[in-house]
């Protein structure tokens, strides 16, 4: 009986992620437009974009290697798996043991490496430039994210996301200073990883500043669609990580189908708020020069480490 529940929970989680991720992107864009007094694009625009791109034929450079064409699928797959193991609705996920927090970071790294390699594959100036910048962001963002997760792990003596959520969510509301610091770090990392202002601007193609867009410049058609989708999946995944660690309440515990019915609206609500907050941050902050980025991320890294030190000093 419980197996059925857990399997359904798993499938549901993946399905919500894959289908709902563009919606989240759309929502963020809409909020941003409102905040900037622009006429907002329709909420479902991302879906239309994806449809259009899938429909178009994809143009590939002559000497593109198979790696170039495989990369979008790998990235997409990685993101799907990421969403599959992050407890968004329920902590009772059969796939969760496949990868714990560290493996999750590894998963993101895998995606990053492949997209960067694909970007270098064509051999245009932009591609390699973007790849370099992406790796620059990555080599600081990854350890920072890992340290954030470590904060939670030290707190709960576990690296498995499910049990982290269960432990923190299980306790009654308490303020963990280490987690608070880690939360700030996580926000900064999330901004950088999802190519948002102030680190990168998804809406620009200005070669001086662009990171993510520079890498995918050569992509078109279905490949581009997959990458865009993967990007929104990544945003979704990060939001879910944040919610799972810092606001775990409402996520269904083991073997309670009713809880799952409650969890869905809770998740949606939390995501809505989170998206709005993200839009707010993007509106309030200005894009920074590319070489400010390491400092930005380094400070995130430091914050995460300090969080751990605080934990060891205060024992909380």
């Amino acid at each position: 009986m419980s197996v059925v529940y857990s399997v359904t929970a798993q499938l549901l989680a993946i399905a919500i992620a894959v289908l709902g991720a563009p919606l989240l992107t759309g929502w963020v864009n809409q909020c941003r437009a409102w905040l900037q007094n622009k006429s907002a694009p329709p909420l479902l625009l991302p879906y239309r974009t994806l449809h259009k791109l899938f429909y178009k034929e994809s143009v590939v450079a002559e000497h593109a290697s198979p790696l170039f064409r495989a990369a979008p699928y790998i990235v997409f797959g990685a993101m799907v798996l990421a969403c599959g193991i992050i407890p968004s609705l329920s902590t009772d996920l059969p796939l969760a043991p496949a990868a714990d927090a560290i493996a999750l970071v590894g998963l993101f790294a895998l995606a990053r490496v492949f997209i960067s390699l694909a970007a270098m594959d064509i051999g245009t100036a932009f591609g390699s430039l973007g790849a370099r910048r992406e790796m620059l962001v990555g080599f600081l963002a990854e350890p920072a994210l890992l340290m954030v997760l470590f904060n939670a792990s030290f707190l709960t003596e576990s690296t498995s996301l499910a049990s982290i959520v269960e432990t923190i969510g299980g306790r009654d509301l308490a303020i963990y200073p280490s987690l608070a610091v880690a939360g700030v770090a996580f926000t900064m990392v999330a901004l950088a990883e999802n190519a948002r202002v102030p680190v990168d601007n998804p809406a620009t193609h200005l070669e001086l500043t662009m990171i993510h867009e520079a890498m995918i410049l050569e992509y078109s058609g279905r490949h581009l669609a997959l990458i865009e989708w993967a990007a929104s999946l990544k945003l979704f995944a990060y939001s879910c990580i944040g919610l799972a660690i810092f606001f775990p309440w409402g996520i269904a515990q083991v073997h309670e189908p009713i809880g799952m019915l409650l969890a869905a609206p809770a998740l949606i609500a939390k995501l809505a708020v989170g998206g709005a907050l993200l839009a707010l941050i993007e509106t309030l902050s200005a894009k920074m020069r590319i070489f400010r980025v390491p400092e930005f991320l380094a400070s995130a890294f430091m914050l995460a480490v300090i969080g751990m030190l605080i934990h060891f000093l205060l024992g909380a």
Binding site: E62, G77, A98, S116, D121, G127, E157
Partner: protein
Amino acid sequence: MTELALLPIDWILVAVVAWLAVGVAGIVRPGSFFIVARVLFPLGAAIGLLVAVAAIAALVSVPQIAVLPLGLPGLPFHLRLDALSAFFLFLLGAVAAGVSVFASGYFRQGEGTPPGLLCLLYHLFLASMAMVLLADDAYVFMVMWELMALSSFFLVTANHVIPEIRRAGYLYLLIAHIGALAILLCFGVLQANTGDYTFDNMRAQQLAPFWASVAFLLALFGFGAKAGLLPLHIWLPEAHPAAPSPVSALMSGVMLKTAIYGLLRVSFDILQAQVWWWGVLALVLGLATALFGVVFSAIQTDMKRLLAYSSIENIGLLTVGIGLGLLFAGYRMQTMAALALTAVLYHALNHAFFKSLLFLGTGAVLHATRERNLGKLGGLLRFMPWVGWLALVGALSAAGLPPLNGFVSEWLLLQSFLFTLGLPGTFVNNLVPVAAAGVALVAALGGYVMVKFFGVIFLGQPREPALAQSHDAAIWERIGLVWLALACVLLGLFPAQVITLIDPVTRVLVGDGIGAKVALHGWLFLAPVDPGRASYSPLLFLVLVAASFALSFLLVRTLYHGRLRRAAPWDCGFPLLNARMQDTAEGFGQPIRQVFEPFFRIERHLPTPFDREPSYRLVATDHFWHWLYLPVAHIVELASRTVGLLQQGRIATYLMYSFITLLVMLVLVFR
């Protein structure tokens, strides 16, 4: 494995003798290229396999002892094959098999030393490494240790016409020898004036903490010199690129591990890891080494130097793990120590495979293009697909990406950091998170380095027109590469099984292991303590990613279409785009150079607007060379000049020396 007529140790001795025989056979017809390449090296590879199999057998069987009628009177060669030796012997054999097969296709006519001599030195190198791992008394250990250094020295200087290579070899042998002297003194302490140099006796000695620490420090210095720990790493980026690629592969992949073996053997097995601050020392030293290595490898423009620095990084990570193990063992937390050591051993194995794979890959590239400078390579994936894709496997595992092997060991290492809560002492407790952060940073930078390595060599467009003619690796080389790549994948996918094999080794070292617990949770999942705490299943991981890959692929094809048009890359409206405009290796390293500015000693030459032919040159060198080695050399030179004044040719002065000596001694008698 009892159905073997001989014990594993006998098999390994047979293999050693066979290796020597192969080498000697090579010297019989030194000129004959065919025999050496097509007969002897494959033979050596087969022997390597034998060693690996026998080692596996030894891992699961009781320690075995052999005594050879050689050595000093009263001190014959004691050999002992316990789990620790067996583990490293397996590493040696398996890697050597792949490298030898590759080498049989690699060595060409007319490159420096005649092939027969190379064959002799190469197999002498292998045999001496095997003997080092078998050694059970100080004398045979030292003899084989130095023999290893010597044979590799001659291998490094195989192409001795080039002065840089001679210099590299010189530096290598010098530092190796000084390290060996330190190890010698370490054994001198350990034997505690009993005149009995067997390791058994050394285990029996109850050294005072002071002497134990002296011994440990000497060992750390000696083995660190061989492993390339800061600040004794200086030889490594010189010697590894100088050697022929198979030799570089063996040196990076296996020889450095013998140093790790020695450190484990002395600090855990013989000294029983008594003092906790040893761990702190090793931890800090290792962390510094790892960061230094990875940062330097990020800015290299020579592909083999890049790999050499990355070896320094990995040695650093191993040392961090050892330090953690020492720390835990110092506080008698054996299980945790076992976890850390499992990570160390696992990573040693992984590094052996992927690093030799990468070095062999560079060897193939070198032969195809005669070019080591990353700035002159590129786009080779199209011309040499075999090397390219196999190198990709190596690069991904070196980058520590799931589901390949590099990730498993890094995962284990980070896990063992997460268990430091129980450690007493605020200092240690504050050190640990910082160290963990450092390890994470190093791992991420490792990813950066590998993207640079693979992307610049194999992706993009050829930076030189000549590259278009470069041919793929021949069959022998392919076999070698495939063997190593396969090992990387398997080690990545079946960690639980590997750890059950590592278990007896950690039992030798700290009397505890995690194999049982891991086996408890089945073959699919890797959960060192319990799944609720941490678990990882690379196989499932791979399956899931692949599944979603396939699913999305099929869906896209079915719901939409598979139309694809080939066109020229988009030139952003600038029609004269060419291969030279790609990001260079220097460019790719530039962010790191900016972020880690203080690490380097940079000499930059920028062109001015008025230059006739503007040129840009940037040399980033090692601070240690200028701050440590040159001063030492200067001091020695100064001292010898001072001493030289004694000998100024006048006989009266010489008589004066004798006279004064006489008087002084007479005073000594009657004081």
